[in-house]
């Protein structure tokens, strides 16, 4: 009973510390980590299959040809044959976050300046991402990925709690 009380007391401290960590200033750490996790993983050619990672589907032959044709416009983080949801690189670069109601919201910001052909289209990055996500799911975090972000949070919470004591 008494131990339970002590646990409840510690739990309260933990909850308070987590709430603080999710305030705008501190939330930056976790938002940046989440964005980096998704972008780095996608650039490596890995997408999501439920809670697991899987290689992104290969590109169609016709699209590979198009990419070859516009090779000079391709991002440095890809190649014509590489399936990593990157052509000009704008979509992944536009992935960002904002802190809202104690939540960290990941979203795609802005419109595209140019397409692979070099022409401007004015399409929104979010639309490109939605389409890509339909066939090659990438926008999310696996349990393992979110737990590795949680490790950073846990470390900060632990430090905050020691400060409270």
């Amino acid at each position: 009973m008494a131990a339970k009380k002590d646990i409840a007391r510690i739990q309260k401290k933990i909850d308070r510390a987590i709430k603080k960590e999710f305030q705008a200033k501190q939330a930056k750490t976790y938002g940046q980590l989440a964005v980096k996790t998704i972008v780095d993983r996608t650039r490596k050619g890995k997408g999501l299959n439920g809670d697991k990672l899987q290689k992104l589907d290969r590109l169609s032959d016709s699209y590979i040809e198009t990419r070859k044709r516009y090779r000079k416009n391709l991002s440095k983080t890809t190649s014509p044959r590489k399936s990593n949801l990157t052509a000009t690189g704008q979509m992944l670069r536009s992935l960002t976050f904002r802190s809202k109601n104690r939540k960290i919201e990941l979203f795609f910001k802005g419109r595209r300046k140019r397409e692979l052909t070099g022409k401007g289209s004015g399409r929104r990055n979010v639309d490109v991402a939605s389409f890509a996500n339909l066939f090659r799911p990438f926008f999310g975090l696996t349990k393992r990925e979110s737990n590795s972000i949680a490790k950073v949070l846990a470390k900060n919470v632990s430090t905050a709690i020691r400060r409270i004591k």
Binding site: D6, D15, I18, E21, Y30, K103, I104, V126, A154, K165
Partner: protein, 165 residues
């Protein structure tokens, strides 16, 4: 007349709130052991009352509970605590009460020298009882770490939202 108190060593791991709780539990244990079990700090039965005294009190000679007006045991409390120890006893200022307690503990009962076999030292706790109490209040570092880890994982899982895709 000496100030009646006992210093009890506990683990240094206990935080202040746990020390207060442990101190209160020790007081509770001393009261139960004295009033219900009729045993001293070493777990031995108190020596019997004198026949006259037992008759006056209206109990059997073996029904020793050190409780007549209940003034003495009611005033037993946690006096102070610090890392690694709690002090249980009676207010320093109450000389009459301290005298009464000393009489019981040493077996002097108003005499200059202790009456042999009449010491009833109730102020203290057996190691096995202390261990039991400490165990109840022990929230180990590992347990705390687990709590933080679980809370952080949940917070990240629920706190990062994916929008627009």
């Amino acid at each position: 007349m000496a100030w009646q108190r006992v210093k009890i060593e506990i683990s240094k791991e206990h935080k202040p709130s746990a020390r207060i709780a442990i101190g209160s539990e020790i007081v509770q244990r001393i009261l139960e052991r004295t009033l219900i079990d009729g045993k001293d700090k070493d777990g031995k039965r108190f020596s019997k009352y004198e026949k006259d005294y037992a008759k006056r009190k209206g109990v059997g000679v073996s029904d020793v509970d050190l409780n007549l007006t209940s003034e003495m045991l009611d005033n037993l409390k946690l006096l102070s605590h610090r890392s690694g120890q709690v002090i249980i006893g009676f207010d320093k200022g109450d000389t009459e009460l301290n005298g009464k307690v000393e009489g019981n503990r040493k077996g002097t009962y108003g005499q200059r020298k202790p009456i042999p076999g009449k010491a009833r030292d109730f102020l203290g706790i057996q190691n096995k009882d202390l261990k039991k109490i400490e165990k109840e209040f022990k929230v180990t570092d590992k347990k705390e770490k687990d709590l933080i880890k679980k809370a952080a994982e949940k917070a990240i899982r629920e706190g990062i939202v994916f929008s627009g895709s």
